[in-house]
């Protein structure tokens, strides 16, 4: 299995980068051999749409899975439309993340069921009821 892990450095012992769109590197790791190839994240300094560009890079790399920190709504929207499995990484090295993934210990990212396509998607249920309490002195 080929996995992309967002990384703060170009080697497998680097800490996982919890940022997705603005991660320093994407490390493509072969989970069997643990051989890693680093891709510089070209969209790291994009003024906008970094998450979208990063998602495109992940799709173009034709990997099976992605391990990262937080995926924003736009990036998630793009990745939902691919076959890339998404996992929430742990704050540790890329290598540790790979081992956890192989052991089935990483949490899959909730993709919210059906993919939503680009603009205009998004449904939410807002709830919330409040009970006001006045301060004791009133």
């Amino acid at each position: 299995m080929r996995v992309i892990v967002t990384s703060t450095g170009p080697t497998i012992d680097s800490p996982m980068d919890p940022r997705f769109g603005r991660a320093e590197y994407f490390l493509i790791v072969d989970s069997e051999t643990m051989k890693a190839t680093a891709i510089d994240n070209a969209s790291r300094n994009a003024s906008g749409g970094a998450g979208i560009a990063a998602a495109q890079a992940v799709i173009d790399a034709r990997v099976d899975a992605l391990v990262t920190g937080h995926l924003g709504p736009n990036a998630l929207n793009v990745l939902r439309n691919s076959k890339v499995a998404l996992y929430e990484g742990i704050h540790s090295s890329v290598e540790d993340n790979l081992n956890q993934l192989k052991a089935g210990q990483l949490k899959p990212v909730a993709t919210g069921g059906q993919p939503q396509y680009g603009q205009g998607g998004g449904m939410g249920q807002g709830g919330g009821m409040g009970q006001g309490r006045r301060g004791g002195q009133l």
């Binding site: 560009a53 799709i59 439309n81 396509y117 680009g118």
Partner: protein
Amino acid sequence: MRIAVLSGKGGTGKTTVAASLALVTTNSQYIDCDVEEPNGFLYLKPEFSRSSEVKVRVPLIDESICTHCGACARICQFNALAVTPNRVLTFPELCHHCGACSLVCEAGAITEVDRRIGVIEADAVGFAVQGRLDVGEPVGIPILDDLKIWIEPGRTAILDCPPGASCAVVHSLEDCDFAILVTEPTPFGLHDLKIAAELVKTMGIPAGIVLNKAGKDNSIIETFCTEQNLPILLKIPYSRQIATDYSNGILPVQASSEWAYLFGELAAKLPGLAQGVKA
């Protein structure tokens, strides 16, 4: 003639100066270019009887023709498209409407469709015109392009620019004959005035200063103006009365004949200043 009123720093009095000048200038137009938050109407109180929607062209993908080659996403400088193996996603709010995606699409799967981002509003005589960006929209530049269509030849247009010195200000300033930089005698005022002064200089637009909230010691601004050869055209004192009137929607030129006279004097100087006459 087009006069831009800008400041760099927000809250120095752009709208006070721009709306006041518009009121005392004959055959003028007040153009509110602060499309994220137009506020000149609070003082000029126009009845907006005309309006036109501002639309931009964004890509629409025909999935039945699209080959998912990815060329559109690669050419887009704003990451407004993403190509997945079976679908192209568009992010219209990131689009800068350049049309590159449809140009590079060999399959011809991209057409451009209208998308509203805001509105232009004007009174019947075209004295008060404002652009208003819709809530949630990030890019107001196309509204500024449309606003300039409402400027009538032969009239004096006073453009109330947005704060800062970003693209929106640059865009407002383009084609202006003179710039009035409104500032205040504070370190923040000076800091942002320097940026604004550099901007107009770079764009080759002659400029002068209105010093608002002037106090006993204004040397912080005066020294800079002397160094940069920027004339101080008007000083408005730090005055509780002006602030009180302003908070009630009344401009200095409406509250006192003295201010009407002083702004009138400034207005009379503008055609000369725009032609390079020294203040």
